[in-house]
């Protein structure tokens, strides 16, 4: 996975995460079928939103503080708190509040991948906008 040949691997299921709100209160929507629910045709509508509801160890005013919300119910499923410049070694903490679907591992991977794809994108964009990128 990740290479030129692996990008066409049939074992990979692709999903698109789309930005639906820009600016400080940015929001990214994602529609996924979790393991065990795909056969029933059920798709979850999830969204990553910017949040400031993080604990004191994290950098409160960071654009990379994110919470995963189920769009239909408004339930907070996960929160990523970014430490920013408060810690050199530790990037932050990801808290999972509720396991979804039949496979907790798959849910954990989904949350991790979507969260850090977003964090990486925000970081790259910030780097370029600040003039440090190519």
């Amino acid at each position: 996975m990740g290479g030129a040949a692996d990008a066409d691997d049939s074992r990979i299921s692709w999903e698109a995460m789309t930005r639906t709100r820009a600016g400080v209160h940015h929001q990214w929507d994602l529609s996924v079928a979790l393991p065990g629910e795909a056969s029933a045709g059920r798709r979850r509508r999830l969204c990553w939103r910017h949040t400031r509801d993080v604990d004191s160890t994290a950098l409160r005013y960071s654009m990379q503080n994110l919470q995963l919300v189920e769009c239909d119910t408004g339930a907070v499923l996960a929160v990523f708190a970014n430490n920013g410049i408060k810690s050199w070694k530790k990037k932050g903490k990801l808290s999972l509040f509720e396991a979804q679907g039949e496979d907790p591992e798959a849910w954990e991977r989904l949350v991790l991948l979507s969260a850090f794809a977003l964090v990486a994108k925000l970081r790259r964009r910030s780097t370029v906008m600040n003039g440090y990128g190519s």
Binding site: M1, G2, G3, A4, A7, D9, R11, I12, S13, W14, E15, A16, M17, T18, R19, W28, L30, D53, Q67, T73, G74, A75, V76, V79, F80, W88, K89, K90, K91, G92, K93, L94, S95, L96, F97, E98, A99, A106, E108, R109, L110, L112, L113, S114, F116, A117, L118, A120, K121, R124, R125, V128, G133
Partner: protein, 139 residues
């Protein structure tokens, strides 16, 4: 001095004078006002987060480019996130590896169309079925 007056002085120092009206709210040391929120301390979220069922710590790795995901006080490595800034061909921008280093099996990847695009494409590797594992010569 009369001990009765001393007792009255102590009382004045520590307790407010009694008044017939409603009691005045006390301002805490970390508050700038005695005004209270109409939500009365309730979380403004419809379903506020409670205690997390699982907490993962994220650590910088490889010159603050890649990330290591650990769990618990023992820092058991769970995942490794390889972040590629320079791409060759159709490589993914971000690869999620299972295990503590980039040599672990890749379980997910992400691709950005561009830095300012509205879309991020995510890919999850399905667990290998017995048919595909046999065709690839895996045990």
């Amino acid at each position: 001095m009369d001990p009765q007056f001393l007792a009255m002085d102590d009382e004045d120092e520590h307790s407010p004078p009694s008044s017939p009206g409603p009691s005045t709210p006390r301002r805490q040391s970390d508050e700038s006002s005695t005004a209270r929120s109409e939500y009365d301390g309730a979380d403004h979220l419809p379903h506020g987060p409670s205690t997390p069922v699982r907490t993962l710590d994220i650590w910088h790795a490889a010159a603050h480019t890649n990330l290591l995901v650990t769990e618990g006080q023992a820092r058991t490595p769970r995942y490794y996130i390889a972040n590629r800034w320079v791409l060759a061909g159709r490589q993914a921008d971000l690869v999620l590896h299972s295990g503590g280093d980039k040599f672990g099996p890749a379980v997910g990847c992400a691709r950005f169309t561009s830095i300012f695009s509205r879309t991020v494409t995510l890919g999850w590797a399905a667990p290998p079925t017995p048919t595909t594992a046999a065709s690839r010569g895996r045990p």
